[in-house]
């Protein structure tokens, strides 16, 4: 479903240019649960941002179901993110002073879903992540684990084909981390392809495939039984 070929990413130019990704070839099939691991600075987030169409590679090809993503305009990329992808960020990235419900409804506004339908679907998703009691809370009134669950609910409410998560458990303790991983595993079982960055082996165990990056290159790519 996802195909990367010869992806490189260079920040800066001339003397100060640093090549962060040095030629990534990668294929991810529908329904996979991929964990990307590697030391800090190895380019995991950079790769994920490219996959999430938030950033563009310097060189290489990115195709999604036979569509060349690199050939898309800014607006087409927005539509790609809107209708195909769901993003969970390391730092939650929820809208401040905005209720959990409104945060989850937000992506549906851009999909043009009616207010009533939005409300219904956001409530459904929030209860599927166990937050039915917290829908009116602002991010500031929620714990880290709860905030991350809101963020997951927001990513999943549009029923994306691919869920992209950058260290979704990075700020959480072990117990909360496992709760989050179970949620994500659940969505993966429902058919959503998951690409997740983590630096914790324990969390990577949930994935069906682990890709290890080092210095902007794939060091190891292996499937394992759950």
């Amino acid at each position: 479903m996802i195909k990367l070929a010869g992806i490189t990413k260079t920040y800066g130019s001339g003397e100060v240019a640093t090549q962060v990704l040095k030629g990534i070839d990668l294929q991810i099939e529908k329904g996979e649960f991929v964990a990307i691991m590697g030391p800090s600075g190895s380019g995991k987030s950079t790769l994920l941002n490219i996959l999430g169409a938030l950033d563009v590679p310097t060189e290489g090809d990115y195709s999604f179901m036979d569509t060349n993503i690199r050939g898309l305009s800014k607006d087409q990329l927005a539509l790609f993110r809107r209708n195909i992808l769901g993003f969970v960020f390391q730092g939650f990235n929820l809208l401040k002073k905005t209720s959990a419900l409104a945060n989850v409804e937000m992506p549906l506004i851009y999909q043009g879903v009616s207010a009533k339908e939005r409300h219904k679907r956001a409530l459904e998703v929030l209860s599927s992540v166990g937050l039915q009691e917290r829908v009116d809370y602002d991010p500031g009134q929620l714990s880290g684990g709860e905030q991350q669950r809101v963020a997951i609910a927001r990513a999943i409410v549009t029923r994306p084909k691919v869920l992209i998560a950058d260290e979704p458990t990075g700020n959480l303790d072990t117990k909360r981390s496992h709760e989050i991983m179970q949620l994500i595993t659940g969505f993966n079982r429902e058919g959503i392809t998951v690409v997740m960055v983590t630096h914790e082996e324990e969390m990577a165990e949930y994935a069906s495939r682990i890709i290890r990056l080092r210095d902007g290159m794939i060091e190891k790519d292996g499937h394992h039984a759950v």
Partner: protein, 404 residues
């Protein structure tokens, strides 16, 4: 999408209530002053028009020189009228009811230990007709007084009050003007203040002849007022006067006349021209304050865009297009300025009402200026909101997300 953007804008404005209010004040003041200026201007001009037409619609004013700007524009260097001009007007035009010269000055008058500065007018008895004046005590001028320039005065009520004790006999008393004295032969019935607030009883009438002999020292006449007989069109009388005066002043038919005939309708035109110009000027000042208000909005929107860079990144990450972000911020600035506009309209109407009551002018509330102001305030929101909104819309999703 638009509706959602509108709700979002309201939420955002509420969230920063204090800042929004301060930002909108520029627009509030601008719109309020536009509304007040225009409405008060219209009311004042309606009131002035009404009261000027009360002054006498069948009167004409003849001034030496050419006036273009309006009354008072007549040059004092213009060749004044001579007694002969006046005589031919009286003798050869039968459509005039009254013809009186008016010489004007202001002087200090003394009676016993009282002195008071007032207006001295050199006129003849026709002046009573033209100005609808009436004698209260005593009499008008006698033929001999008019012919010889004997000292005789008819005084207005204000002058009486200033110089004499309440029950003191006025008739026959001598008052001093500069270096001559004058016997009071009559007093005028009180007229009260005119529309412009001027005291119409603050004057002393003397015969033109006496004015010329004792005050001006020559036989020049600087103004003639005439009253046209009822049922005679003013234009016809004007033509006749023009003809007669050209002849007596030896001006060829094709040359420009060296005098001006003003009717109160021309005066009205002039006044409405002046008030229109004033209204436009005041409106322009108000419009400038609107632009200042718009710059304030632009400033705050730029701050807001920077503050919410992260939010913009999040919205783009979940699929907002540049146009969605543009509309969101544009609507926010339009809503902000339109709210300012609404408050401004209410304030402007309140000011108009207050001033109309306070100054006793007509209350005119022009609906078109209200609608225009509201539209204009929204336009300001668009004009000054577009650049911050574009700044937001042109961000890169990844850069916006990384912004700290």
């Amino acid at each position: 999408m638009l509706y959602n953007a509108f709700l979002q804008a309201i939420r955002e404005i509420k969230r920063n209530m204090m800042r929004s209010a301060l930002t909108a004040i520029g627009i509030v003041i601008g719109i309020a002053s536009v509304i007040a200026m225009v409405n008060i201007g219209k009311g004042a001009s309606a009131s002035i028009t009404q009261s000027v037409s009360k002054l006498g619609s069948n009167n004409l004013l003849i001034l030496p020189g050419q006036t273009r700007g309006g009354p008072g524009g007549a040059s004092s260097f213009a060749k004044p009228f001579k007694p002969n001009d006046l005589n031919v007007l009286k003798s050869s035009i039968n459509t005039l009811e009254a013809v009186s010269p008016v010489e004007n000055t202001s002087m200090t008058v003394v009676y016993k230990d009282q002195n008071y500065r007032t207006n001295i007018k050199g006129v003849n008895n026709d002046y009573f007709t033209v100005q609808s004046l009436e004698v209260d005590l005593g009499r008008k001028f006698e033929k001999s007084e008019l012919r010889t320039g004997q000292s005789a005065c008819i005084v207005g009520k204000t002058v009486v009050k200033k110089l004499f004790a309440p029950d003191e006999n006025v008739l026959g008393q001598k008052i001093r003007l500069k270096n001559f004295s004058c016997v009071i032969v009559g007093t005028l019935v009180e007229k009260g203040a005119n529309t412009f607030g001027g005291d119409q009883d603050d004057l002393i009438l003397v015969p033109t002849k006496m004015f010329q002999r004792r005050i001006s020292g020559n036989n020049n006449i600087h103004m003639i007022t005439v009253s046209v007989k009822k049922n005679i069109p003013l234009e016809e009388a004007k033509l006749q006067i023009d003809q007669v005066l050209r002849e007596s002043r030896h001006i060829k038919a094709n040359d420009e006349a060296d005098f001006t005939i003003l009717s109160f309708t021309t005066l009205l035109d002039t006044i409405s021209q002046i008030t229109a110009i004033l209204t436009v000027m005041l409106g322009a000042v108000a419009a400038i304050s609107l632009i200042v208000g718009g710059v304030g909005i632009m400033n705050i929107m730029l701050v807001s865009v920077t503050e919410r860079t992260r939010e913009i990144g999040i919205r783009m990450a979940v699929g907002a297009m540049a146009a969605d972000i543009l509309i969101q911020f544009l609507i926010e600035s339009v809503v902000l300025s339109a709210l300012g506009g609404i408050v401004g309209v209410l304030l402007g109407l309140a000011i108009t009402y207050g001033v109309a009551i306070g100054l006793d002018i007509q209350l005119i509330l022009d609906p078109s200026i209200t609608v225009l102001s509201l539209l204009f305030s929204m336009l300001i929101g668009v004009i000054f909101g577009i650049s911050p909104a574009r700044k937001a819309a042109n961000m890169n999703p990844i850069d916006a997300l990384r912004y700290e």
